[in-house]
């Protein structure tokens, strides 16, 4: 009965949630299949390959998920365009307004304030719709897809690429692809997981990316600047909604926690392997 009294607000529409779902599926698959090859000498990699099939199955899955990645990368631009249209303002207002994902000076200020807060030298910053680490996550995907995707294509079609580029560039592409992927998966499976899901406030996870809604209380506490802005603009009532059905919550948790566990298992395997390989 009590849950019914909790007020919810809509944070994500279906489209961005769907894109994030694609990201989860493709990123996890890419990471698992890719890391199994990168750390092929490790036993866990052999087990993974054995479970999935052969190294060729790994490759096929990896390439398929690469296509998914390029797809969500493209769809994201449609999402951006939709948001731009919805915002009703100019392009400049859309890019540099309070709801933009573009890093801005306020993010630098909030970063400093956050560190002060960590050390007890000030209050927690009054974050807006997007915190600076959320913006970093988002921008990192742009960078990551471009770098990993570009070099990945080189590795996928070396015979065609070498009609233009020298053969040893394929070696360079391999290093960039592999290390950038290591960075991306390492970052997502530790930093992103902690910042978004595993920190005590959210533990074990924040289901908002799956349900699309969050309690109004949470909005007030965590994103006061956005809340105030919504109140000021009188938009708060328009995004208020029902609490999500229980089955949605359960499935969101099941899926989310599974993805988290896979990611964590992989990052532990990677760290173990790297320690083992470089010792």
């Amino acid at each position: 009965m009590e849950t019914n009294q909790v007020e919810y607000v809509q944070r994500f529409t279906f489209f961005p949630r769907f894109l994030h779902f694609l990201v989860i599926i493709s990123f996890l698959t890419l990471a698992v299949t890719g890391m199994a090859l990168k750390f092929a000498s490790q036993q866990w990699a052999e087990i993974v390959a054995e479970m999935i099939g052969t190294f060729e199955t790994l490759g096929t899955l990896h390439r398929f998920m690469a296509v998914v990645t390029f797809t969500y990368f493209g769809l994201n631009f449609i999402l951006m365009y939709q948001n731009y249209k919805k915002s009703g303002g100019s392009l400049k207002e859309f890019l540099f307004g309070p709801n933009s994902l573009v890093p801005m000076p306020i993010d630098a200020i909030e970063l400093i304030q956050t560190f002060k807060w960590f050390f007890g030298l000030g209050p927690q910053p009054r974050y807006g719709r997007w915190t600076y680490w959320e913006k970093f996550d988002y921008m990192a995907v742009f960078w990551g897809v471009a770098v990993i995707g570009g070099t990945g294509l080189c590795l996928w079609f070396p015979e065609q690429f070498t009609l233009v580029i020298p053969g040893y560039w394929i070696n360079i592409a391999t290093i960039i692809h592999s290390d950038e992927a290591l960075l991306a998966s390492g970052f997502i499976f530790t930093i992103h997981f902690f910042n978004t899901h595993l920190r005590p406030e959210k533990f074990p996870m924040d289901p908002v990316i799956f349900t699309g809604v969050m309690p109004l209380d949470e909005l007030k506490h965590e994103r006061p600047r956005e809340y105030e802005q919504l109140v000021a603009e009188g938009k708060l009532d328009s995004i208020k909604c029902e609490s999500p059905p229980k089955w949605v919550l359960i499935n969101a948790h099941l899926f989310g926690i599974t993805a988290l566990l896979i990611g964590l298992a992989l990052v532990i395997s990677i760290i173990y392997s790297m320690v083992f390989l470089y010792m």
């Binding site: 000498s41 190294f55 560190f115 070396p158 020298p166 040893y168 070696n171 360079i172």
Partner: protein, 670 residues
């Protein structure tokens, strides 16, 4: 009167007569042949004694042609030299030994002479063979002792069915018939050869002795010498069959000529009588036949004739005694055969298989035999005893398909040879049977598949450390090349061949890559995965860097055998460094080398560094700096966000406690 004149001349001491005496050791006779011929020249002249008529006619013409024509009648018929016309009748039997004393002694000791002494009515006198008044030189074609006539001369008594053969127990039968069919007889009678052997060539003319007499020319000890009078070089010609030096050193080990070449039937016929197989089997086909050994153990002497019937030795008509040479047959009583084993010693196969046994003696097996090692395998261990079969016979233990099981009897894990073995090869038989050679033999039914003996040889097996061994590093290639000739030729042109590569470093032998007992199909996953380890034993650095690339990494995962292995790019047996025009990696060939996997292979594509490592700044600076730039980015990002997270965690907890405290305080106040 005449006599007185002669005496006067003789006593006169004429030099001429003295000379004559010296030249012809005959006594000067008083009686002339003419005197004798006065009476004896009359044809049909007979003398009678006790109612029996004797012809006393002497054909003067024949006598004058004879060897003794010059000697005069009374030189032999000494008792005819009497005064007056009549000499005693009958005259004594002429004793040829009066002149031929040396021959006389020999003959007296011979079978014939002894029979004479025993008053054997069939015993031959000199005259029976040589004639009486018509004695001719044995060179004379008309002589009874001329080589062409000897079989007939002897045959007068020894022909089957004569009174002599009927009354005497002679081992050999049909002697003359057999002789005439033999190679010797054929030579004499059909080919007209005067150099062939006749009776007297072997039995001698006067010293005829039974073969049981050690002094006989046909005794077992002497028969070889006898044959070698003509077959002087038989030792050399027979070395393939009989080890030469045995003839002199250990003649008892060698079967006598006649044991293979029947004495009167010298041809492909065996010693049919006396020590033939039937004779041996009279006792040895009894399953109960046993012998109590010196240590009290019972040893069965039973010979399964069915075994022998199908053996190669039976086919080649090798008689029991040819192998069991230390068995001697006692002829004393033919109805009660007796075997005498002269000394207890195993059959020596080297009697016939000299070359092979020599090889065997130098082998590990042979050396163990020499040391009297109880585990040592002898010829019989592998070949069997009486039932020895040809290698081509599928029932033979040395038939290719049966060889692995044969060797397994000792070399299978847990068996006696495997227990002694201290090398690195284990589960040899098991591994062999799973190998391509083993499967080829057992599953594909290929008789050309290598078995144990193809590599280790059948008789010269030696440990691989022995430079003479067929499996010694330096010889392995030749051994494998016996079957894989084409590969061996390719290999000889590769950088791994000592012919091309003048290096002090160890060059690989076939088994370094292919192993020895676990040889597999090269297109099988298990082999392809092995290649890397095999090449890696020498090319350590290259293998390491290979594993830094896609080919290497993928090869470690399941299905990884499909990725390019060393040999796919470098070639296998024809491997050469890239600077050789024949190399698969030579500039002119490398595009094609990549093509089987990368159909779009092009000049720039081949610039891909297949053994690249980002750890080598001098060799691959681009890779080195790219790697460190990426690592910098990685470390930087994690350093910042790692710190961010680490500081966040305590703050987060503190906030939670604070909130919880506030919450409970609120509740308290409410």
């Amino acid at each position: 009167m005449i006599r007185a004149d002669l005496r006067q001349i003789a006593l006169g001491g004429s030099l001429i007569i003295l000379l004559f005496l010296m030249l012809a050791p005959v006594r000067v006779l008083a009686l002339t042949d003419a005197d004798c011929m006065d009476c004896h020249s009359e044809e049909g002249m007979v003398a009678e004694k006790d109612g029996v008529e004797y012809s006393i006619y002497v054909d003067e013409q024949e006598f004058l042609k004879s060897l003794h024509a010059e000697n005069g009648c009374v030189s032999c018929h000494q008792d005819a030299e009497v005064e007056g016309d009549e000499h005693p009748f009958p005259l004594n039997r002429v004793d040829c030994a009066n002149c031929h004393d040396d021959v006389g002694v020999i003959n007296a000791n011979s079978l014939h002479g002894k029979a004479l002494k025993n008053n054997d009515p069939y015993a031959p006198y000199c005259s029976d063979c040589h004639g009486k008044h018509d004695i001719l030189s044995h060179r004379n074609r008309k002589s009874r002792t001329f080589i062409m006539n000897i079989p007939f001369t002897c045959g007068r008594c020894h022909r089957e069915g004569t009174a002599m053969t009927k009354t005497h127990d002679i081992q050999k039968h049909n002697v003359l018939e057999n002789y005439s069919m033999s190679i010797h007889g054929e030579g004499l009678l059909r080919k007209g050869l005067t150099v062939t052997a006749v009776c007297s060539s072997c039995h001698t003319s006067h010293n005829v002795l039974p073969h049981t007499d050690p002094n006989s020319t046909i005794s077992r000890q002497n028969v070889v010498k006898t044959c070698m009078k003509c077959h002087a070089n038989i030792e050399d010609a027979h070395t393939k069959i009989i080890r030469g030096e045995l003839w002199e050193k250990e003649p008892h080990k060698v079967p006598a000529c006649v044991e293979c070449h029947g004495p009167h039937k010298a041809r492909r016929v065996l010693y049919e009588d006396s020590l033939n197989d039937k004779f041996c089997l009279r006792c040895h086909e009894n399953p109960e036949l046993k012998k109590i050994m010196a240590n009290g153990e019972e040893k069965s002497l039973y010979v399964d004739i069915n075994d022998f019937e199908h053996s190669i030795h039976k086919e080649k008509r090798i008689a029991c005694v040819k192998c069991h040479v230390n068995v001697e047959f006692n002829h004393e009583d033919p109805t009660k055969p007796m075997c005498e084993v002269k000394e207890e010693s195993p059959v020596d196969c080297s009697i016939c298989h000299a070359a092979v046994v020599k090889l065997f003696e130098e082998s590990t097996h042979g050396k163990l035999v020499a040391k009297n090692d109880p585990n040592a395998p002898t010829c019989m261990t592998c070949h069997g005893t009486h039932g020895i079969r040809e290698r081509k016979d599928s029932g033979s233990p040395i038939f290719a398909r049966n060889v692995p099981d044969l060797c397994a009897q000792c070399h299978r894990e847990g068996e006696k040879a495997a227990k002694r073995y201290t090398g690195s090869q284990h589960e040899i038989i098991q591994h062999y049977k799973m190998s391509i050679h083993g499967k080829g033999l057992s599953e594909s039914g290929l008789m050309v598949s290598a078995t144990c003996t193809n590599c280790h040889t059948a008789h010269s097996m030696l440990p691989s450390a022995d430079p003479k061994s067929s499996i010694h590093r330096d010889n392995v290639q030749e051994t494998c090349g016996n079957c894989h000739l084409g590969i061996a030729e390719k290999f000889n042109k590769s950088i791994h061949s000592a012919a091309i590569n003048k290096t002090d470093k160890k060059l690989p032998a076939c088994n370094d890559c292919h192993s020895s007992h676990t040889i597999r199909r090269v297109d099988q996953a298990s082999f392809r995965s092995l290649i890397l380890a095999e090449c890696g034993t020498c090319h350590e650095h290259e293998t390491e860097s290979y594993f830094d690339t896609y080919h290497g990494k993928a090869s470690l995962l399941s299905g990884g055998e499909k990725t390019a292995k060393c040999s796919d790019c470098h070639g296998s047996h024809d491997i050469l460094p890239a600077y050789y025009t024949g190399s698969k990696l030579h500039r002119n060939n490398v595009i094609e080398t990549c093509r089987p996997c990368h159909p779009g292979s092009n000049r720039k594509f081949t610039g891909y560094l297949t053994h690249a490592t980002h750890h080598d700044r001098d060799k691959y600076p681009y890779l080195f700096y790219t790697f460190w730039a990426m690592t910098g980015l990685l470390v930087g990002t994690f350093a910042f966000f790692g710190m961010h997270t680490l500081f966040w965690i305590p703050r987060s907890f503190r906030e939670r406690f604070k909130r919880r405290r506030e919450h409970s305080r609120k509740k308290l106040f409410e």
